[in-house]
């Protein structure tokens, strides 16, 4: 059997990366001690992919906002039994999600793994869109959009991205707007499908109680060989500076919410593991739960335990953020900026570095317990052009110097601050 075995001695776990003859990359993590399995079929296509053409096309296609997500919903439908009806025959729990840079279809099951896998591959590879079925989904997705519009955390994040970025498509709402989804047609859906749902742009990840031979047999049965497609995309050039330093929205919340983000250089498109791990450690040292700053802010009543730090990254975007709730967001912002300056002056102590690294390394281990996390990480690491064990290994190798080098990336005059607060009473 072809394929390479990727192993972590530390975890005592391994998986196989196999190039199937259809052109699809297949990742299998055999977990014989499990009852069932979790599978995820993903494409490197999300809300940020807004303007593209196949090499063979003459013109670029610009698509309405929210189309990747709309396509995800519509793929469940077919000319015969739709995917939900087919999974109802097996008892599996199926779902899908669309993010900024990928779309994934998944199921979890205890029994009949191969049958479920066949359904998953089959429905994703057989699009069926008509004017009527496309029309029908507007009510459903319209309500999904309304639901997000009432979510203050959703608004907080997107307002921040719109403040940081002038043009980067990460500004666009993943689900689109009521107006934009009204422009979606079967033709546009097929154009997206042809470009991004080629086997060469996709990956199948399976973790659970089955062998790679079983997985490959299903692939043999369902998947046709596809010539890889080449496509080109227009990514608008993004200026180095933020669009707006401050943005604010009024929503019915009692306590104001805030998110502070620091703009990063536009390149590279994908951040490597060392950068992500170094930045994660740095953010944690600045204001994470074990930092003196978090403790001070908590004692002063300026933050609560919902506060967290997060390096938001994906294909084409990278944004270190500090997120929380506060009666006085501006004071929290000032305190974070002051702490960053202080670290720039005095450096990071050996103790802080060692303790933070240990803590994050320990938390990273938790991601290797459950099948759903395993499958998700297989897909994610593959699209990031790394292995599933890269981050864990990097935590053991990263140095204080790597972390200190990230301090230059956090510049107050190139940051944006998003606030969502209630009406002044």
């Amino acid at each position: 059997m072809e394929g390479k075995c990727i192993r972590s001695e530390l975890l005592g776990e391994q998986y196989y990366e196999i190039k199937h003859q259809s052109g699809l990359t297949v990742l299998v993590m055999e977990q014989p001690q499990c009852t069932g399995a979790f599978a995820m079929f993903g494409t490197r296509y999300g809300s940020v992919d807004t303007c593209f053409k196949l090499e063979s096309d003459d013109d670029y296609t610009s698509v309405p906002e929210g189309i990747a997500h709309y396509l995800e919903h519509k793929l469940f439908e077919s000319e015969e039994l739709d995917a939900f009806e087919r999974f109802a025959q097996t008892g599996a729990s199926a779902n899908a999600f669309t993010s900024f840079d990928k779309t994934c279809y998944l199921f979890q099951c205890a029994d009949r793994v191969e049958e479920n896998l066949e359904i998953l591959l089959d429905f994703v590879k057989h699009p069926y869109f008509t004017k009527e079925t496309v029309q029908k989904e507007q009510g459903i997705i319209g309500q999904e959009i309304r639901m997000y519009q009432d979510n203050p955390d959703w608004a907080l994040g997107f307002n921040l991205y719109r403040a940081v970025y002038h043009k980067n498509p990460v500004r666009i709402d993943i689900a689109g707007t009521i107006e934009s989804i009204a422009q979606i047609t079967p033709e546009l859906l097929y154009a997206c499908y042809r470009t991004f749902y080629n086997n060469s742009n996709m990956v199948l990840a399976v973790a659970g109680n089955l062998t790679r031979a079983q997985v490959l047999a299903v692939c043999d049965k369902v998947l046709q060989k596809e010539e890889p497609v080449r496509f080109e995309q227009i990514v608008p050039e993004e200026p180095d500076t933020v669009a707006q330093p401050y943005t604010e929205a009024i929503m019915p919340v009692d306590l104001p919410k805030f998110e502070l983000g620091f703009k990063q250089p536009a390149q590279p498109i994908l951040r490597d593991c060392k950068e992500r791990v170094s930045m994660d450690i740095l953010l944690e040292i600045i204001a994470g739960k074990l930092s003196p700053l978090y403790h001070e802010l908590l004692e002063q009543g300026l933050v609560n335990p919902s506060f967290y730090v997060y390096y938001f990254t994906g294909r084409g975007f990278a944004l270190p953020t500090f997120v929380g709730e506060s009666s006085d967001p501006e004071r929290v912002r000032a305190a974070i900026l002051a702490r960053i300056e202080e670290l720039r002056q005095n450096g990071i102590t050996d103790e802080d570095f060692a303790l933070t690294r240990k803590s994050l390394y320990g938390q990273e281990l938790r991601a290797f317990n459950d099948m759903d996390d395993l499958a998700y990480q297989l897909v994610d690491s593959y699209f990031s052009e790394e292995t599933m064990f890269s981050a864990l290994a990097t935590y053991r190798e990263v140095t204080k110097g790597d972390v200190e080098a990230m301090l230059d990336r956090l510049q107050a005059d190139n940051s944006s601050f998003s606030v969502v607060k209630g009406e002044t009473k």
Binding site: L10, F84, S93, A94, C109, I140, Q149, L255
Partner: protein, 422 residues
């Protein structure tokens, strides 16, 4: 998966997962939902935050970090008319320590310290800590209502159960926070130590016998006194349906309907009602999903679930405000259809298969397993997911119809923007 007694009033429910990389251990104290609910929620936060040995959040958090990012978090929930106060520990296994340190035993001891050795003065919890936690609890209660789906659900239950203890939100009532004192919390802590049932749930690869010994030593040191009987009032039937409307500045309307499920205790007719709920609105094959969402395109979500510990069934949906009545009619129509036996044998089989599959998958996730173990609170019955799947498999079509006919509508709650300026 099994349940053992640690000492009087204290039980240990565990599932050994040899390939797990970490330990999840939840220490739950069980108390009635009553006028002390808010104070207990506050107490739990205090206990989770610091200990006598690590008296500030800074010291405590650094200690947790040194245990490889172990976390101890307070989680409060309702189980029927019982408040479950859980301290949840997560930590990696010893074999991943970079310098061969022990992690798990130290972390479990730290968790026990949270409960047994809090940072108290002879006359109560320190005022500055109490003040801080009061503010944090106030904020937590406030943010709970930022999530409109959650808010609508809380409000429906409050209206439906206005004369029952179940109306209470498990993290408490903001209006009751001010009056709480450090002394009162101290007394409450002593009372909980002596008079509450405790359930320790554990999932991980650590040897359960070693853990059990540690827990016996630490928790067995408390001389449990008389333990209260924890009872939940089950109203088997509604006294007529009421409708409550509320206006807020929201883009999407929320429709929540509460039904009495005809149960007299948490296991009463449970497999049949659980299966009926699945057919009605518990999966993508269900009547609510197939019709209200897929056929009528009225909503993104419309689903039913059973709250077995209280014997109520709840339907939730997010809709365009002007469609509220239409959705309500459609939901009632689907329930009537189940009552009339208007579902195919295939749907019955699909629902069984779906439930069997999801129950059998529980142990494939540490988190789901922990939640499964936790639901047994002080219950005399203990069931594994596989046992429940088997019980559901043997339910007949007639039993499903019978169960649906025991369900009675109690409260319709609608949240929308009517009466607010656009």
């Amino acid at each position: 998966m099994e349940l053992q007694k640690i000492c009087k009033g204290t039980r240990f429910a565990f599932h050994r997962n040899e390939t797990s990389k970490s330990t999840a251990l939840s220490l739950s104290l069980l108390a009635p939902l009553d006028e002390k609910t808010t104070a207990r929620a506050l107490l739990l936060q205090l206990l989770a935050r610091t200990t006598k040995q690590y008296p500030t959040t800074y010291e405590m958090n650094r200690r947790l970090a040194s245990l490889y990012g172990a976390t101890i978090s307070p989680q409060v929930e309702k189980q029927g008319e019982m408040q479950v106060l859980a301290l949840v520990l997560q930590c990696p296994d010893d074999r991943f320590a970079l310098e061969n340190e022990s992690i798990c035993a130290d972390a479990v001891n730290l968790l026990c310290d949270c409960l047994l050795l809090p940072d108290v003065m002879p006359d109560g919890f320190k005022e500055e800590n109490v003040r801080r936690e009061k503010e944090l609890l106030r904020q937590q209660i406030d943010s709970r209502s930022d999530d409109k789906r959650r808010y609508a659900l809380d409000r429906m239950i409050e209206e439906m159960c206005k004369d029952e203890p179940y109306r209470r939100i498990p993290i408490g009532d903001k209006a009751e926070i001010d009056a709480i004192t450090g002394k009162e919390l101290f007394d409450l802590w002593k009372d909980l130590m002596l008079h509450s049932h405790v359930l320790v749930s554990f999932v991980g690869s650590a040897p359960s016998q070693t853990l059990l010994e540690t827990l016996k030593m630490r928790l067995g040191s408390i001389e449990k006194q008389e333990l209260p009987e924890l009872r939940t009032e089950f109203l088997t039937e509604s006294y007529g349906s009421q409708t409550v409307r509320e206006a807020q500045d929201v883009k999407q309307g929320k429709l929540v309907i509460g039904f009495r499920a005809g149960m007299t205790y948490e296991m009463d007719n449970y497999p049949a009602i659980r299966l009926m709920t699945a057919i009605f609105g518990g999966g993508t094959f269900s009547k609510l999903f197939m019709n209200v969402r897929e056929k009528m395109s009225l909503c993104y979500y419309c689903s039913a679930r059973l709250v077995r510990h209280k014997g109520i069934l709840i339907v939730e949906s997010g809709i365009e405000p002007e469609n509220a009545e239409k959705a309500l009619d459609a939901i009632r129509h689907e329930l009537d259809a189940v009552r009339a036996g208007d579902f195919t044998d295939e749907t019955l089989e699909q629902a069984k298969r779906y439930l069997r599959d999801s129950f059998r998958s529980v142990t494939d996730s540490n988190y789901s397993t922990l939640l499964w173990l936790r639901q047994f609170g002080a219950s005399a019955v203990f069931q594994t997911p596989v046992e429940l799947a088997a019980a559901i498999d043997s339910v007949s079509r007639e039993e499903v119809i019978l169960a649906a006919n025991l369900v009675s509508e109690d409260t319709v709650y609608i949240l929308d923007d009517s009466g607010k300026e656009a």
